[in-house]
């Protein structure tokens, strides 16, 4: 036996293959589906937005880490945020607003709170909320799907806005909404493609199926109770994208499955209320941001059932 020193580390001495990087790249894989849809429906300009968004996000993260004197790691989290931000933006947003978005999402919403794992609000949605109120005029340009890589696009109303009208039959409208052939944010229109990405997330156990099911289910149920068309309400707008890719985010939602269900139901109620009674056509972004604020409270009170505790409580009661 040679005399090289042995490593003394605490147990377990075996580690699984999970890593933050692996998680993030799997999310990026899932995001490729709605992203491809965004480019297909709204043209190459979306690709340009993505390039600017990803590049600025990574550079801003690098700068922020240097200023905070923390190691910069290419773990993929900035790319996820950058893609998500583009997907929730109008497909013809000015590029300088995309850069401002990266600044808000990465530098303010994430790094100022302590970096990945410490942020309270979903970075992409926080940035979306910020640019929406700051540059309302520049972001009011919604276009119909162009089905061409270079076309400019014709301004039209999004399905959830008050001025939205359609000439299709109800069935054809649902089909258009499901496939994504409607106006809206770059990556939110195709429920089908988001569903494919979402199933990848569920298959790799990156999100719990309970989150999208309870979020979308709550919106459907409450819309129906309030006299709206439930199928239209869940297919229109950014509900699917929010349900699979944002309401199930690790960092900003509760830890336990029960907590996640409370979060999802709460967000579902908020979306419906904002859509029906609020002054804005869409409420997905704000519903998730508001519930993000409740996450610490939910985590404080919703704990898993501790092994061996059931019996004791029963005994004490008896």
């Amino acid at each position: 036996m040679d005399n090289k020193p042995l490593v003394l580390s605490p147990s377990p001495h075996l580690r699984g293959r999970n890593s933050i990087k692996r998680d993030m790249y799997l999310v990026i894989l899932a995001l490729l589906f709605p992203t491809a849809g965004a480019v297909y429906f709204f043209g190459l300009y979306v690709l340009l937005m993505l390039a600017v968004s990803i590049l600025s996000a990574v550079l801003i993260e690098y700068g922020a880490k240097m200023m905070r004197r923390r190691p910069f790691r290419m773990d993929g989290s900035a790319i996820v945020t950058a893609i998500l931000f583009v997907l929730v933006m109008p497909p013809r947003s000015p590029l300088w607003i995309v850069v401002v978005g990266s600044l808000i999402s990465i530098a303010v919403a994430k790094e100022m709170f302590g970096g990945l794992g410490h942020n309270i609000f979903n970075p992409a949605l926080a940035a979306r909320a910020f640019v929406t109120v700051s540059f309302a005029g520049a972001l009011s340009h919604w276009i119909a799907p162009v089905h061409s890589m270079l076309a400019d696009g014709v301004t039209t109303a999004t399905p959830l806005s008050e001025s939205f009208t359609y000439t299709l039959s109800k069935g054809e409208l649902y089909k258009a909404l499901f496939l994504g052939n409607v106006s809206g944010s770059a990556g939110e229109t195709s429920a089908l493609l988001i569903l494919i990405g979402g199933l990848i997330l569920i298959a790799f156990r990156l999100i719990k199926w309970q989150v999208p099911v309870f979020y979308i289910g709550t919106v459907a149920l409450l819309s129906w109770v309030l006299g709206k068309d439930p199928l239209f309400q869940i297919l229109a707008g950014g509900l699917f994208l929010g349900a699979f890719f944002m309401a199930a985010d690790y960092v900003t939602t509760p830890l336990t499955t029960r907590g996640k269900v409370i979060f999802a139901v709460g967000a579902g109620v908020l979306v419906t209320i904002i859509r029906i009674y609020g002054s804005m056509p869409e409420g997905v972004c704000y519903s998730i941001l508001l519930m993000n604020a409740f996450t610490p409270l939910i985590d404080r009170h919703v704990h898993p059932r501790v092994f061996g505790m059931v019996k004791r409580t029963k005994k004490e009661v008896a």
Binding site: L6, D23, R73, Y250, P304, V306
Partner: protein, 443 residues
């Protein structure tokens, strides 16, 4: 709704993790290791009070001779494992706690001369005689916990034990010692079970084996059908899922009962014994042999992984040499399995009663990142805890609050750290937390 139904529907995932089995030596028969030239016997090879030394330098000892007596009720005597001369009484580092403990070094005379053994017919012994013989033989839990067996067999009068569970789960990766023991010596294990059932007048027993050991399951089933027991004995196949062999998890899986926090298996009428412990009980009663050797797997990055019957006090290096030596990349020596085993500072560390495995491996040290709250540790914790909260609280030195999160319910199985994508050594934080909490006097 029934838990099983929920699991099938995917509504509830059973806690725990699935590390690769890596049972390298599963098909290798147990081999008797040659007698070592010297043995180093720490006087604490069990949970409880250290044993008190009875020999001095220069004494001649025989195999099985008591060289240190139990230092209290929760304690166990230590026997000489080779015959020869006591060379010195050094202070040695415990292979479990790393703390300094008194030890005895015996130099072999090469004769392997035993004390006179006193075999007995278990049917003719009273329960108290059985327990006192087990105590005298120095038997402790050989699954690794090393709790003195006679204490487990002496429940306070207000507790009734109605079920014995034989732990042959062996859920830790790499280890194959219990598997081989069940395949090659099922009669000793089950004879030990019959003795325990008699000592406690228990009428029901389950032999729990994970479903990745079909040979052991078949052998044990065959043996059960050929033997007479003082009650019902069933071989119960449990799914492969770490930490299935953790006492509380095993009881819950088989009996559907949860041992209360801070409680013992006897609180739900159960008693769990490892298969190696039962074989040792058989040897102690039927053959009159005190505990001086055990089956141990030597595995990992060694040339040929093997299972040995080795005397306590044998240095790890001697057994590794018998396997053809270790790989030059290896830089970690573990006593026990990779999930809960303890890293040793030297290849010369001697094996003790609780050492079921010597694992030679390449270290897998990873840079720790900040928690991303993925919740995997919560999902996999077999005790229903929030492991990441322990890390937060320990980092903030907020030890008082650890108790609110039931830290003492943690069995340190390592499932949380195994699956953590941020490479946080959660068990290390939890150990620090438990230690600090004890310093504060919080129970």
């Amino acid at each position: 709704m029934n838990t099983h139904v929920l699991e099938v529907l995917g509504l509830k995932r059973p806690a725990g993790v699935h590390p690769p089995s890596s049972k390298l030596g599963a098909q290798t028969a147990i081999e008797r290791a040659p007698l070592p030239e010297t043995v180093t016997l720490p006087l604490q090879q069990h949970i409880g009070a250290p044993a008190k030394v009875l020999v001095k330098t220069g004494d001649e000892v025989k195999v099985g001779q008591v060289i240190a007596e139990a230092g209290g009720f929760v304690s166990a005597p230590i026997h000489a494992t080779i015959s020869g001369k006591v060379k010195q009484l050094p202070t040695v580092a415990s292979s479990v706690t790393g703390k300094a403990v008194p030890g005895v070094v015996i130099e072999s005379d090469g004769q392997d001369e035993w004390i006179e053994l006193s075999p007995a017919d278990p049917d003719k012994l009273s329960p108290s005689e059985i327990v006192s013989r087990i105590k005298g033989a120095g038997i402790v839990g050989m699954g690794g916990a090393t709790f003195p067996s006679h204490v487990k067999l002496s429940p306070p009068p207000e507790k009734t034990i109605n079920t014995v569970i034989v732990n042959g789960a062996e859920c830790e990766p790499y280890i194959t010692a219990d598997n081989r023991l069940m395949i090659e010596h099922p009669e000793r294990v089950l004879s030990g079970l019959a003795i325990v059932m008699k000592a406690l007048s228990v009428k029901r027993a389950f032999v729990a084996i994970e479903d990745n050991k079909p040979q052991a399951i078949a052998k044990m089933r065959e043996q059960v059908s050929q033997m007479k027991f003082p009650g019902d004995v069933n071989v119960h196949v449990v799914p492969r899922r770490y930490p299935m062999g953790a006492e509380k998890t095993l009881i819950n899986t088989i009996l559907g009962k949860q041992v209360p926090e801070g409680g013992l298996p006897m609180d739900v009428g159960a008693l769990v014994h490892n298969v190696a412990t039962l074989a040792a009980i058989h040897d102690a009663i039927v053959l009159g042999k005190p505990l001086v050797e055990r089956v141990i797997s030597v595995t990992g990055l060694v040339k040929t992984p093997k299972n040995f019957l080795a005397r306590f006090g044998t240095p790890a290096s001697a057994l590794i040499d018998l396997c053809g030596g270790s790989d030059s990349n290896a830089d970690e020596l573990i006593f026990g399995g990779p999930m809960m085993g303890i890293a040793q500072p030297s290849f010369e560390t001697a094996i003790i009663k609780g050492t079921n495995c010597i694992l030679v491996k390449k270290s897998d040290l990873r840079e720790e990142h900040d928690c991303i709250r993925c919740g995997r540790c919560v999902e996999t914790c077999p005790m229903g805890l929030l492991p990441l909260q322990f890390v937060n609280l320990v980092k903030h030195e907020d030890y008082d609050h650890l108790i609110n999160y039931h830290i003492n319910n943690c069995v340190e199985c390592g499932s949380c750290a195994y699956g953590c994508p941020a490479n946080i050594p959660l068990v290390a934080y939890i150990k620090v937390g438990k230690l600090e909490l004890r310093k504060l006097g919080v129970k």
